[in-house]
């Protein structure tokens, strides 16, 4: 009975919906990044690492410049650099994409850990450096429920949803998008028709760097205003799962991201619910929830999805 009451309490609580949006935003950014890359045929499991770097770099530059938006800008530049490394190894040098992605994850974990002490003077976690202020939408503030759920949100949340539309538009409504899909499905044929396979793939991978670093920056300066070691905590991989679940389509990836954001927010609310009185020692079990949801969802739905035919295969002229 208490469980039911707790559930009712969560679902009628306006801030739960805000929490869902906030939790979904990094997944949206990064999964759109995954779509950009994989549509052109390059698997990018480095999303996790690029996010981590984005989270760190945005904090460093916010701390240096005092402006969180400049922090985000530098995070994006770093994301481009990381993605370029991945593109260089896996497109130009035709390396194994998963292995290269793994290297970049490790690189991000190493670099962020390495620089923490020289820059902030202590390991583990940085000071609060400030964050991007939330934007208030006046006409929503009149209704209490709307005010608490969507009345006051980080502008990066709007950016995430805008990027879904932009990605969808680029991939399905432009000539570039047609080429991206052609390169991902049949690079040989695209090449024969005069499409520069390498250039298009570089574009896809670089865009994934931009998006994933935005996702990371949101986690740090978008949400809490500081950086913790390994703060992405597997979100890059959940974003990959969201991309797969969304059938390599930006809109699908957005819905899947919302599902994962929902399950993260739900697990958080449940473990802190005053009605359930969850012991602090039991809380780790609740943290398993989003990962179990991902696993179940991937296992149940993947039969219906299909990756681009040339996904993960290096192209040799």
């Amino acid at each position: 009975m208490r469980v039911l009451l707790a559930l009712l309490d969560i679902f009628t609580n306006a801030s739960f919906y805000k929490l869902t949006l906030t939790a979904a935003t990094p997944f949206i950014f990064a999964s759109i990044g995954g779509v950009f890359s994989e549509v052109t045929g390059v698997v990018n499991i480095a999303l996790e690492g690029i996010m981590l770097m984005g989270a760190f770099v945005s904090v460093v530059f916010t701390w240096l410049t005092g402006n969180a938006w400049l922090g985000v800008l530098f995070a994006v530049l770093t994301g481009l650099g990381m993605a370029w490394l991945h593109a260089w190894a896996s497109i130009t040098w035709r390396g194994n994409q998963i292995v290269s992605g793994t290297a970049l994850i490790l690189l991000a974990q190493g670099v962020t850990g390495f620089l923490m002490e020289p820059i902030f003077g202590r390991p583990g976690q940085t000071d609060i450096v400030g964050r991007i202020p939330e934007v208030r939408i006046p006409f929503l503030m009149k209704n209490k429920f709307l005010a608490q759920s969507i009345g006051e949100l980080s502008p990066m949340i709007y950016m995430a949803f805008a990027s879904v539309f932009i990605a969808w538009f680029i991939i399905y409504k432009t000539k570039l998008g047609l080429r991206m899909r052609a390169v991902g499905e049949n690079p040989k044929a695209a090449d024969t028709l005069g499409v520069n396979v390498y250039a298009v793939r570089y574009f896809g991978v670089l865009m994934s760097g931009v998006m994933a670093s935005l996702g990371g920056a949101f986690l740090s300066v978008g949400e809490v205003g500081n950086f913790r070691e390994l703060m992405t905590g597997g979100r890059g991989f959940i974003a990959l799962a969201a991309m797969i679940l969304g059938n390599w389509n930006p809109v699908g990836a957005m819905w899947a991201s919302l599902l994962f954001g929902f399950s993260e927010a739900f697990a958080n609310q449940l473990q802190s619910s005053p009605l359930l009185k969850v012991a602090s020692t039991t809380k780790p079990l609740f943290n398993m929830f989003p990962f179990i949801v991902t696993l179940i969802v991937i296992a149940g739905f993947i039969g219906k999805t299909r990756p681009p035919a040339a996904d993960g295969v290096p192209y040799e002229k």
Partner: protein, 344 residues
Amino acid sequence: MNQRLWSFLVPVLSVMLALLIASVIIMLIGKSPVEAYIALLKGAFGSRLAIASTIVKTTPLILTGLAVGFGFRAGLFNIGAEGQMIIGAMAATAFAINVAWMPAVLAIPLTMLVGMLAGAGYAAIAGVLKAKTGAHEVVTTIMLNWIADYLSSYVVTVPMGVGFGTPKSPEIASSAKLPPLMVVQATELTSGIIIAVIAAILIKILLDETSKGYELKAAGFNPYAAEYGGIKLAQNVVLAMAISGALAGLAGTLEVMGVHHRFLGTLSGGKGFDGISIALIGQNNPIGIIFAAFLMGALRNGSNEMQFVGVPKHIIMIVQAIIIFLVAADRIVRTIFLRKRVLR
């Protein structure tokens, strides 16, 4: 140049290049790379104690390296060694706490078996999902890693937790403890290293001398041709995943039986992930993996000493990342050293 020699040279040159790049990074934070690397060597081999603890660190790395390398040979990318190691250690501990009545000749092999089966079963989840629904093992094993991680932090506090301070389980029964090869100060040089080396040899025999090994390799090398040739892919995926998981589970089990003698919440500390670099440096060859694990064990152990001269030990992760990156795109290394002869 011949292919065999290159497959040996690429990782060696990658390691050298990575150390070179790392020394530039060390200079950038205003420290001396020479001083740092001397500290690294001293920390890894400078005393009997240093050598003993390098070998202790090498032991689980051989097994996680084998786990990942074996997966690679069968066409699977098992990133889940981390989680499988945790589950193996957890199950082995739960068993070994209760075997005080058993003689060591029974308790030791049974505990190892329990740990291996638990790791195998956990990995098999990803194998079954891949075989049944096509879910990519990279994504599923990562999810399983996080689940195992949170599960273990729960288990060491509530059902298995004892005492105060660091979350930990009770000590395992003495009959299930591995006898140490020797004791240097407080560090026991575990006999687990022998088991790890035997495991490497067994995996080599399985892969190179048996028909099952041939089947697994064929399925990994070209799944379509293998299926055409009458090899049951789904079965092989699950089996390969289970063997891989058993090796990772054994890594965790030996840590419990030979080093900590209990289950700790922070057991794995990235050893499963290290398995990936080790498999790559060892070129997925079990014997190569032994040497690669020793290299990584030495780097990890020596890096603690490096902290004392002011160089964060995270530099070793960066070194590892550069090695993996260069091995992934091995043509970079070939081109640097062969001046564009390979890549036309």
